[in-house]
C-alpha cells in the first residue's frame, strides 16, 4: 500500500499490478474505499464467482453459466500449435516467411513458461490455392475489400478441409492462419460489429485458433513482373498470434477496471500470477472431469449388470479417487503445482478406467448361460 500523495505514479491509476505476484495499491480516502479496491485486486489477480463456474462448467447446469463460460480451451495434457500460411494466388505473390526463426525467438519463450501446464509441439505449413469461403465486398470509399463481422464464422469451415488432421497425435490442435489475399482482392480489411476496420486485421475463434489477414502493398510500377516477392514481417504477425494465444487460454482479462495498470510481461508472454490462475483453473476443471467420469461409470454399472470390472481397472479407479482427494487437499493448502500434478494423474487414471476395452467383453453374454 502506498500513501495517496506519491507523485511518481500517473494520475488516475490507483493500482499497479506487477509481473511476478505483487501489486501496488494507492491508499486514499476511506477504509471502505480501500476495502473495495482490495477486493477488485483480488478479483483481477485471482478468481471471481463466474470464473469458478466456468472452470466447473462440466458439472454446473447451463442456466447458471455466463455466456463466456465455455470459451477457454479445455484442459488437456498437451496442445499442438500449427502455423499455416495461406497463399491463394501463388502466380501473383511468392510469399516467404522465416517461421523457424520467429518460432524460436517469439513463441518458444512463451511455451517454455507454459510448459508447466502442458506439453506443446509446434509446426508449420504453407498451403497454396487455399481460399476463404467468403467473397469479400468491395467498399468504394476506402477502395478496399471488406470482410464484415457476420461473415467471419463462414470463413473457417472451407479452410479447415485443407488444414489436414493431426493423425499422429491425440492432443487438440490450435491453428493460427496467416492469409495473404489475392491480387484481385487486395487490400482486404476485417470490419467489426460497428463497421470500423479492426486495427490488427485479425480475429480468433474460441477453442479453434486465429486468422490474420496480411495485406501486400501494390507495387509502385504497374508493370512490375509477376510474381511479386513478399517477405512477411514476422514481428508484427507474431505479436497478433501471441495475443490470440493468450485470449484462447483465457489469460487476458477483458473486464479490468479502468484504474488498473498491468505491467507488460515482456518476452515471456505472461505474468506469474496469470500462470497461477491458469494452473488453478485447469486443476479445478480436471477435478470436475474426474468426478463426472467416475460418477458416470458408477451409474452405468448400476444399470447394466453385465459389465465386468477387472482388477487393473479397479486399481485405476482407486488411484483416480486417491489422486482427486490429494489434489483437493493440496489446493486447500495452497500448493498449486502439487495439486495440478495430482489432478493430471487423476484424469489419466479415470480415462484409462472408463475407456478400457475389457469392460465390454461380456456385455452381450446372455444372462441364463
Amino acid at each position: 500500500l502506498l500513501p495517496a500523495l506519491t507523485p511518481s505514479h500517473p494520475q488516475g491509476i490507483n493500482v499497479y499490478v506487477g509481473k511476478h505476484r505483487s501489486a501496488l495499491v494507492r491508499a486514499g480516502g476511506s477504509l471502505a474505499g480501500l476495502q473495495a479496491r482490495l477486493r477488485e485486486v483480488a478479483q483481477v489477480m485471482s478468481f471471481t464467482a463466474s470464473s469458478i463456474a466456468a472452470a466447473l462448467s462440466d458439472r454446473v447446469p447451463d442456466a447458471q453459466l455466463s455466456p463466456d463460460a465455455r470459451r477457454n480451451l479445455k484442459s488437456s495434457l498437451g496442445y499442438e500449435i500449427t502455423f499455416s500460411l495461406l497463399n491463394p494466388d501463388p502466380k501473383s505473390h511468392t510469399v516467404d516467411w522465416d517461421i523457424e526463426g520467429a518460432v524460436n525467438r517469439y513463441v518458444k519463450p512463451v511455451l517454455d513458461k507454459l510448459s508447466l501446464v502442458a506439453n506443446f509441439s509446434v509446426d508449420s505449413q504453407i498451403l497454396y490455392y487455399a481460399v476463404l469461403g467468403v467473397t469479400p465486398r468491395y467498399d468504394k470509399e476506402s477502395s478496399s475489400f471488406i470482410l464484415s463481422a457476420h461473415s467471419l464464422p463462414h470463413v473457417i469451415n472451407p479452410v479447415e478441409a485443407r488444414l489436414g488432421s493431426s493423425a499422429a497425435s491425440l492432443y487438440p490442435v490450435l491453428n493460427f492462419l496467416l492469409y495473404v489475399p489475392e491480387r484481385s482482392h487486395s487490400p482486404l480489411y476485417i470490419q467489426d460489429k460497428d463497421g470500423a476496420p479492426v486495427s490488427t486485421n485479425a480475429f480468433h475463434s474460441p477453442r479453434w485458433g486465429g486468422i490474420m489477414v496480411y495485406n501486400v502493398e501494390a507495387p509502385a510500377a504497374p508493370q512490375a513482373s509477376l510474381p511479386l516477392h513478399v517477405d512477411v514481417d514476422m514481428a508484427r504477425v507474431m505479436e497478433v498470434f501471441l495475443a490470440q494465444l493468450r485470449l484462447l487460454f483465457g489469460l487476458s482479462r477483458e473486464e479490468v477496471p479502468p484504474e488498473f495498470l498491468l505491467e507488460s510481461p515482456g518476452n515471456e508472454g505472461l505474468a506469474d500470477w496469470e500462470l497461477d490462475h491458469l494452473l488453478w483453473a485447469h486443476t479445478v476443471e480436471n477435478i470436475a472431469t474426474v468426478s463426472t467420469t467416475l460418477t458416470s461409470l458408477a451409474q452405468l454399472l448400476d444399470k447394466i449388470g453385465n459389465i465386468v470390472i477387472k482388477d487393473d481397472v479397479a486399481s485405476e479407479v482407486y488411484q483416480a479417487v486417491a489422486s482427486v482427494q490429494s489434489a483437493v487437499t493440496q489446493l486447500s493448502l495452497g500448493h498449486l503445482h502439487a495439486a495440478f500434478q495430482a489432478s493430471k494423474e487423476a484424469v489419466t487414471s479415470s480415462e484409462r478406467a472408463f475407456f478400457d476395452p475389457s469392460l465390454l467383453h461380456l456385455l452381450y453374454f446372455p444372462d441364463d448361460q
Binding site: T94, E100, S121, D123, I126, Y129, A167, A168, L226
Partner: protein
C-alpha cells in the same frame, strides 16, 4: 507468362511433375503421372518441422512412427502384360502396403498397426483391415529402394488387401497432398469421372530417403505420387485410334503450377519397325528425347510446359496423337518376362495353385524371386510343390517357407528360380480348404475368398545396352524404369489374384428349421389335442331369447317369415 522470380532464392524443396503418354499395341493408351517432391531435410523424431511443398500429414507420420520407406498402392483392374507389354510401374489389384522401419523402432508390429490405421484415415481406404492374418515379412523380395544402412528384414512388413476397391473418395485425398492441388499444372487433368472410366487405374504414394548429392553425405526425403491409367480403345476411344488429351481427360492443360521447377509431357512415338513412324503428334513438340527403356530404344516427344514458346499460339495445350497408317495386329511385341496364375482341381475339399512363368528371351537365362502369400484357410502342402521346366524338374536355389498358423498368420513362400532361355516354368502346389467358424464368413460368402497376387522380382537382361540416367535430370525415367547397371533392368510383376470358394454353410438353415419346427408342432400338436379332447354334445334347440321374440314381432309387421 509467369517469370521465375524466386530463381535467386535457395529453396530446400523442389517439385517436378511429369506425364508419360504411351500408346499400347492393342489401340489403348496408357497415361502415367508422376509428381515428385524432394525435400532437403531430415525428418527426425520430435524435431519441429516446417513444411512447404512436402505435405504435413505424411511428414508427421514418417517422423512420429520411425518409417524409413513407405510404399502404398491402390489399384483397380489388372495390367495385361501379354497384350500391353511390360508395365512402367505395376501394382497388384486392391491395396498394397509395404514399409521399411528405422532400426530405432523397438516394437515393429505396434508401429505397423498404427501406421496402417493412420493411412486408412488419410486415404479413406479400408487399410485398417490389415492385421497379422495378412501381413508377412519377406526375406528376399522388396529390398529397400532408397538409402539403406544394412537390411535386417525384421524391419520390413508387407500386406496386400485384394478385395479393396478404389474410387473417387481415394483419389481426392491423394490429390490434396499435391502442393498445387488440382488447380494448376498437370493435376488439372485428374478428373474422377474420366479416370475411373478406364480399364486400369492405379494410384500410389512412395516415400524414401535419397542421397542429397553425389557425395551422399546428407539425406533428403523424396515423395513420389504416381498415377497410371489405361484408357480403353472401345469405351473411351469410341473405336477410333486418335487420342488427344481432351478425349482422354475431358480437360486440356492451361497453365503450369508456379511451384513446380519442371513440368513436362512425354509422348512415346517410337517406331514399331525401323522404317517410318507410326504416330504423329500435334502441336509440334519442344524437343525429342531418346532413351533405352526396358531393353528397347524408344523415342519420346517432349512438351516442356515451362518454356515460354508453348503457350504463345493458344492458351491451352491439347496434345493429339494420330496414327499414320493402320496397325497390324501381328506386330504385338511379347514381353521378356510374364506370368499367369490359376486355381486347378475340382470340388470343395482340395485344389491346386498353378503358376506359369514365361521367359521369352532367345538366349539368356536369368533368376526370378517368387513371393506367394496364401491365407491360412487354404492349407498348403509343401511336399506337393513341384517346379517343372521343359519337362524336367527345376530345383530352386533358395526357398524360404513359413507355414501358417490358424487365424494368426498366413503362409509365406519365397523361392529363387532359375529360368532357362525361351522356356515355360510351371509351379504347382496343392492345398486343402478349411472349414471356417460360422461367424468368420464375410457378408457375401458365396462370392468367394481372395488370394492376393504373387510377386515376381527379376533383373531382366536387356538386348540393348542402357546408360545410367541421372536421377535429377529425368526423375520419371529413373523411377519408372530403374536400372542399376547397363545390362539389365529391374522388373516387378504381379500375377492375377485368385478367387477361391470355401465350403460354405447354408445360412438360411436356422430360418428353415424354425419354420419347419413351428409348422410341425402346430399341425401335429393341434390335431392331436383336438383328437384327444374333442367331445360331441347334443344341443336342444332353444325357444329363443328376448331379442329373438322382439325380432319376430318386427318381422310380423314387415310381412317377412319369422326366424
Amino acid at each position: 507468362g509467369p517469370g521465375r522470380a524466386d530463381a535467386g532464392r535457395e529453396r530446400r524443396d523442389a517439385l517436378r511433375e511429369e506425364l508419360l503418354l504411351s500408346p499400347l499395341p492393342t489401340g489403348d493408351v496408357a497415361a502415367t503421372f508422376q509428381f515428385r517432391t524432394r525435400w532437403d531435410a531430415d525428418l527426425q523424431r520430435g524435431a519441429v518441422s516446417h513444411y512447404r511443398l512436402f505435405p504435413k500429414a505424411l511428414g508427421r507420420l514418417v517422423a512420429a512412427l520411425g518409417v524409413r520407406e513407405l510404399h502404398l498402392a491402390l489399384t483397380q483392374g489388372f495390367w495385361r502384360t501379354r497384350y500391353w507389354g511390360q508395365p512402367p510401374l505395376q501394382a497388384p489389384a486392391g491395396a498394397e502396403l509395404w514399409v521399411w522401419f528405422q532400426p530405432t523402432v523397438t516394437d515393429v508390429d505396434k508401429a505397423w498397426k498404427e501406421l496402417s490405421n493412420i493411412l486408412s484415415g488419410i486415404f479413406c481406404a479400408s487399410l485398417n483391415f490389415i492385421d497379422s492374418t495378412n501381413t508377412v515379412t519377406p526375406t528376399a523380395s522388396f529390398k529397400p529402394l532408397g538409402l539403406a544402412n544394412g537390411t535386417d528384414h525384421h524391419l520390413l512388413r508387407y500386406a496386400v488387401l485384394p478385395r479393396e476397391v478404389v474410387c473417387t473418395e481415394n483419389l481426392t485425398p491423394w490429390k490434396k497432398l499435391l502442393p498445387c492441388g488440382s488447380k494448376a499444372g498437370l493435376a488439372v487433368l485428374l478428373k474422377a469421372e474420366r479416370l475411373f472410366h478406364s480399364s486400369y487405374h492405379s494410384q500410389a504414394v512412395h516415400i524414401r530417403p535419397i542421397c542429397r548429392d553425389a557425395s551422399c553425405l546428407a539425406v533428403s526425403w523424396e515423395l513420389r505420387q504416381t498415377l497410371t491409367v489405361v484408357f480403353d480403345f472401345f469405351s473411351s476411344g469410341q473405336g477410333k485410334k486418335d487420342w488427344s488429351l481432351f478425349k482422354m481427360f475431358s480437360r486440356t492443360l492451361t497453365d503450369t503450377c508456379p511451384l513446380a521447377s519442371q513440368s513436362k509431357v512425354y509422348v512415346d512415338i517410337s517406331p514399331k519397325n525401323k522404317e517410318n513412324e507410326l504416330l504423329e503428334v500435334s502441336p509440334p513438340p519442344t524437343s525429342v528425347h531418346e532413351a533405352i527403356v526396358q531393353g528397347d530404344k524408344k523415342t519420346y516427344a517432349v512438351y516442356d510446359l515451362l518454356s515460354p514458346s508453348l503457350f504463345n499460339t493458344s492458351r491451352s495445350l491439347n496434345v493429339q496423337l494420330k496414327w499414320k497408317r493402320p496397325q497390324d495386329s501381328s506386330e504385338m511385341p511379347i514381353p521378356t518376362l510374364h506370368a499367369q496364375r490359376y486355381v486347378g482341381g475340382y470340388g470343395l475339399q482340395t485344389g491346386e495353385i498353378c503358376t506359369l512363368i514365361y521367359n521369352t528371351h532367345p538366349y539368356r537365362a536369368f533368376p526370378v524371386i517368387l513371393l506367394e502369400t496364401v491365407p491360412w484357410y487354404l492349407r498348403l502342402y509343401v511336399h506337393t510343390l513341384t517346379i517343372i521346366t521343359k519337362g524336367k524338374e527345376n530345383k530352386p536355389s533358395y526357398i524360404h517357407y513359413q507355414p501358417a498358423q490358424d487365424r494368426r498368420r498366413p503362409h509365406l513362400l519365397e523361392m529363387l528360380i532359375q529360368l532357362p532361355a525361351n522356356s515355360v516354368t510351371k509351379i504347382t502346389i496343392q492345398f486343402e480348404r478349411a472349414l471356417l467358424k460360422w461367424t468368420e464368413y464375410p457378408p457375401d460368402p458365396n462370392h468367394g475368398f481372395y488370394v492376393g497376387s504373387s510377386v515376381l522380382s527379376a533383373l531382366v537382361p536387356s538386348v540393348t545396352a542402357m546408360k545410367d540416367m541421372d536421377v535429377e535430370q529425368s526423375p520419371l525415367f529413373t523411377s519408372l524404369f530403374p536400372s542399376s547397371d547397363g545390362s539389365s533392368y529391374f522388373v516387378r510383376l504381379y500375377t492375377e489374384p485368385l478367387l477361391v470358394n470355401l465350403p460354405t454353410p447354408d445360412f438360411s438353415m436356422p430360418y428353415n428349421v424354425i419354420c419347419l419346427t413351428c409348422t410341425v408342432v402346430a399341425v401335429c400338436y393341434g390335431s392331436f389335442y383336438n383328437l384327444l379332447t374333442r367331445t360331441f354334445h347334443v344341443e336342444e334347440p332353444s325357444r329363443g331369447g328376448l331379442a329373438k321374440r322382439l325380432a319376430n314381432v318386427i318381422r310380423k309387421f314387415r310381412g317377412v317369415p319369422p326366424l
